[in-house]
């Protein structure tokens, strides 16, 4: 199974980020993790990466509830950024919200490929790994 180069986590919950990294490490998920604690940081960070001629991460794990700029705002901003090649980018929502409206809203975005309800488990990463693999093959 091919290891994914670079993924991105946008979440203000440092505990979650720590846990996710542990689990990804376990399943040998990716080479590099980009971390942003809110939407605005992520928009700015990703822009600078693209600016440096580097590719966007294949996977973005996105929290919905964040200060400054929440997940929805990030999504809206991200997908309308010109010159972004989003064909290979998959966004997974990571949320503790069981509100069905959030899930429905998430489904409206083509780029959103999954909605992961906290707590995140190692299994979640294995499944994503498989899905990405299939897509690539």
């Amino acid at each position: 199974m091919k290891k994914i180069d670079r993924i991105c986590i946008v979440d203000d919950d440092s505990i979650l980020v720590y846990g996710m990294k542990l689990m990804m490490n376990e399943v040998d998920f990716c080479e590099e993790v980009l971390e942003y604690s809110n939407g605005l940081d992520a928009i700015e960070g990703l822009a600078s990466i693209v600016n440096d001629g580097e590719p966007l991460p294949l996977i973005i794990f996105l929290d919905l509830n964040m200060p400054i700029m929440d997940g929805w705002e990030f999504l809206d901003e991200f997908i309308k950024t010109p010159n972004y090649n989003l064909d290979n980018v998959s966004i997974y929502i990571i949320s503790s919200s069981v509100d069905p409206r959030d899930r429905e809203k998430a489904n409206e975005y083509e780029i959103v490929k999954g909605y992961i309800l906290k707590p995140v488990t190692t299994n979640d990463f294995s499944e994503i790994q498989e899905a990405i693999y299939k897509k690539v093959v």
Binding site: G19, I68, S97, D99, K118, P119
Partner: protein, 732 residues
């Protein structure tokens, strides 16, 4: 000398006498003659009649001429008008003087004043003429009949008509009348019995008239020698009498049919006369009482008797006529109401002679009136006190009568409404349908109608009512007016709208509750998810030894966060919406001061430039704990999000609006991008600053608290300049 002696003898005779010679000169006169004729000259001998008594010439000279020529005239009465205007009747007798013992002259005249007796005679004749009484006389010896002029006039025969007994009898109407007079005349002739009767005659001109014939017989030695009497035209009297009788009969029939009793009270004799109707009115039999006064006394209701007697007395004394009402008790104890009207008749001196009056039964009238009053009163009561608005409206739409409910609903006084038409105060959009229906009622197509319509209240706002209009007809079937019943449903419409608003609020609250539930579950889940994730990692030995210490710290942090979240939620839940009883009047200036004291240290540390411009007596309606919590949150926010590049400045001021007291809380901090975050500013767990202390709970609670106190909060802000919160509180 003889002559002289004789002359003086004449002078002293106590009768008025004068003598004349053949050339109409006085030869002698008595002193009385001079005084009767008012002759001043005391020696008239040898003087001419023309000179001494010019006013007598016309009368006396022909008599003297007759006397001198040897024809002594019959003594007669003459009406003489003297030069002083006095008129006297004087009887003049002429004598031949030649045969007397003394020769005083050719002719003597005796004068006697007969004015008084003549006057009486004249009056009698006049009276007879006025009364149309004629005389007649039948001399049975000569069988001649004599009629006076009036008798002839009554018979309508010419003045030269010569009657006889048979002709006279035949004037009487054939049959009953003629037989009667024939019998009476025969009886008088045989027995000398006088007659006085009223009979009909047919005059010569064929008119039938009533006459009163009176006759007496003069008997000589048991034999009738003469009949004489009077004959009076009583036709008009009989006709009046007949008319009176027929009127009287008609009155009797009328009063009998109408149940009107007639009575007459002789005040002098203290006697009372009733007609038959009276007994019927009093429900008694004539025979059961000794007299009418007894009947009256026995019948009048005991409670009314004294008053009636007093009223009779007042009528007699001329204070007030006896026009009254009283009750009578019938023998079967039935009580009847009697109406009495009467007048008192008096003699020319004003002395009361008698009272004449009528009674009639007004029991039915009284009962009907009473029922009418009762039903009127109950109707009036229903009309006045109805909670439904009621109005009588003329055919033109004018308010004729309105009750209090209408006034209350429309805001006008009764007087104001009575000067208006319903058209004046109907909302224009509703007028056409109302008028259409009303015209259908006027056209007789329907009796009533009901619509929901709107009126203008006096204040200008609309009043919605359910109007029911019913037509009222006069006895002749024409429309008289309308009765409008007006049920004010504005209140229920208002209530409906209030209920709708309440429903909206409830829906919003439900929605926010749902959001709140999701937020709660989200936040609690976040922490519990972290806890379970960490414990899972640790238990499954996924955490490297050297990282275990850090993982434990994270575990504690997650647990703390969970606790903190629960604390915040508790705080939010405690902001209750129904806190009216805790609201009180507070001094805003003092409240600000109290909060500021708690953070004096913080102010000093940050070197805050703080200004409180609120008037020291400014009052506000608030819950003390909420007010302090709000102020503290705003103070700490301002300090927390102050711009590190400049000295923090906070200014509080107030401003009264119509409804609220506006408190402006202004700082020169970082500012918020309202275009971006405006909608979320007061949301739960929303933060907009990259600040470690930002929890996103403070403004959410502030907003909830201020709204719970009936106020609101708004914000103006510019990034890099500062933020100004406007707090609206209820005014005392």
């Amino acid at each position: 000398m003889r002559t002289l002696a004789a002359k003086s003898l004449i002078e002293d005779i106590p009768i008025s006498i004068a003598f004349f010679d053949s050339s109409f000169c006085f030869t002698a006169s008595s002193t009385k003659w001079l005084s009767i004729f008012n002759i001043i000259d005391d020696d008239i001998c040898g003087k001419a009649l023309d000179t001494v008594m010019p006013e007598m010439v016309n009368v006396l000279k022909p008599l003297l001429i007759e006397g001198i020529s040897g024809q002594i005239p019959e003594p007669n009465d003459y009406k003489i008008t003297f030069s002083d205007g006095r008129t006297e009747w004087i009887n003049l007798k002429v004598y031949k003087a030649e045969n007397t013992a003394f020769e005083f002259g050719k002719i003597g005249v005796v004068a006697e004043v007969v004015t008084e007796s003549k006057g009486r005679q004249e009056l009698l004749i006049k009276a007879k003429k006025v009364a149309r009484i004629g005389g007649w006389e039948l001399d049975l010896l000569t069988n001649k009949i004599y009629w006076t002029d009036t008798t002839k006039q009554i018979h309508e025969v010419p003045a030269d008509y010569v009657p006889d007994l048979e002709k006279g009898i035949n004037f009487y109407k054939a049959g009953e009348d003629r037989d009667k007079i024939t019998q009476l005349v025969s009886e008088a002739m045989c027995n000398g019995t006088p007659w006085d009767t009223e009979l009909k005659i047919i005059t010569a001109k064929g008119n039938e008239i009533w006459v009163r014939a009176k006759g007496e017989a003069q008997m000589v030695n048991g034999k009738c020698v003469r009949l004489y009497g009077t004959f009076q035209d009583i036709d008009s009297y009989r006709r009046i009498e007949a008319q009176y009788n027929s009127v009287n009969e008609r009155l009797r029939i009328a009063t009998g049919a109408a149940g009107i009793g007639i009575w007459e009270f002789d005040i002098q004799k203290n006697t009372l006369i009733w007609d038959d109707n009276m007994y019927e009115l009093y429900g008694i039999q004539k025979e059961d009482f000794s007299g009418v006064l007894d009947a009256w006394e026995g019948s009048v209701h005991p409670e009314d008797k004294e008053r009636c007697n007093r009223e009779v007395e007042m009528a007699v004394n001329g204070v007030k006529e006896f026009n009254t009402e009283f009750r009578v008790v019938w023998p079967n104890n039935q009580v009847r109401f009697i109406k009495a009207e009467s007048i008192v008749q008096r003699n020319p001196e004003g002395k009361p002679l008698r009272m004449v009056g009528v009674n009639w039964d007004i029991t039915e009238l009284i009962n009907t009136k009473r029922q009418l009053i009762e039903s009127d009163q109950s109707l009036e009561g229903a009309f006045e006190n109805s909670s439904i608005g009621m109005a009588l409206v003329s055919l033109e739409g004018k308010f004729v009568k309105v009750n209090q409910s209408v006034c209350n609903s429309l805001g006008y006084t009764e007087k104001e409404l009575l000067n208006l038409t319903f058209q004046d105060i109907t909302y224009p959009d509703d007028l056409e349908i109302d008028l259409n229906l009303l015209n259908q009622v006027i056209a007789g197509k329907r009796k009533s109608y009901q619509i929901e319509k709107r009126y203008f209240h006096k204040e200008g706002n609309l009043v919605t009512v359910i109007l029911t209009v019913t037509a009222v007809k006069k006895i002749n079937g024409e429309l008289s007016h309308f009765i409008s019943q007006i049920v004010d449903i504005s209140a229920s419409i208002d209530a409906k709208e209030k209920a709708k608003k309440l429903l909206d609020v409830t829906n919003k609250q439900n929605e926010s509750l749902l959001n709140f539930a999701h937020i709660v579950s989200h936040n609690l889940r976040s922490h519990s998810a972290n806890l379970s994730m960490l414990t899972d990692l640790i238990l499954n030995n996924k955490v490297k030894r050297q990282e275990q210490q850090g993982a434990m710290l994270m575990l504690r942090e997650a647990a703390n966060s969970l606790g903190e979240t629960i604390f915040h939620l508790n705080e939010v839940v405690q902001v209750k919406t129904d806190i009216n009883e805790k609201l009180q009047e507070l001094n805003l200036y003092t409240s600000i001061g109290n909060v500021e004291k708690n953070i004096t240290e913080l102010f000093r540390e940050k070197n805050v430039d703080y200004t409180n411009l609120v008037p020291s007596n400014q009052k506000v309606i608030a819950v003390p704990a909420y007010l302090e919590s709000i102020l503290l949150n705003l103070f700490t926010n301002s300090i927390k999000y102050s711009d590190p590049s400049r000295r923090p400045s906070i200014t509080i001021s107030s401003n009264e609006t119509d409804e609220f007291l506006e408190v402006l809380f202004q700082d020169n901090g970082l500012g918020i991008n309202l275009e971006k975050y405006g909608q979320k500013l007061f949301g739960m767990y929303k933060t907009f600053h990259k600040h470690q202390d930002a929890k996103g709970i403070g403004l959410f609670i502030t907003k909830n608290q201020i709204e719970a106190m009936g106020g609101r909060i708004s914000v103006e802000s510019e990034v890099g300049v500062g933020t100004c919160f406007s707090l609206f509180f209820k005014k005392p």
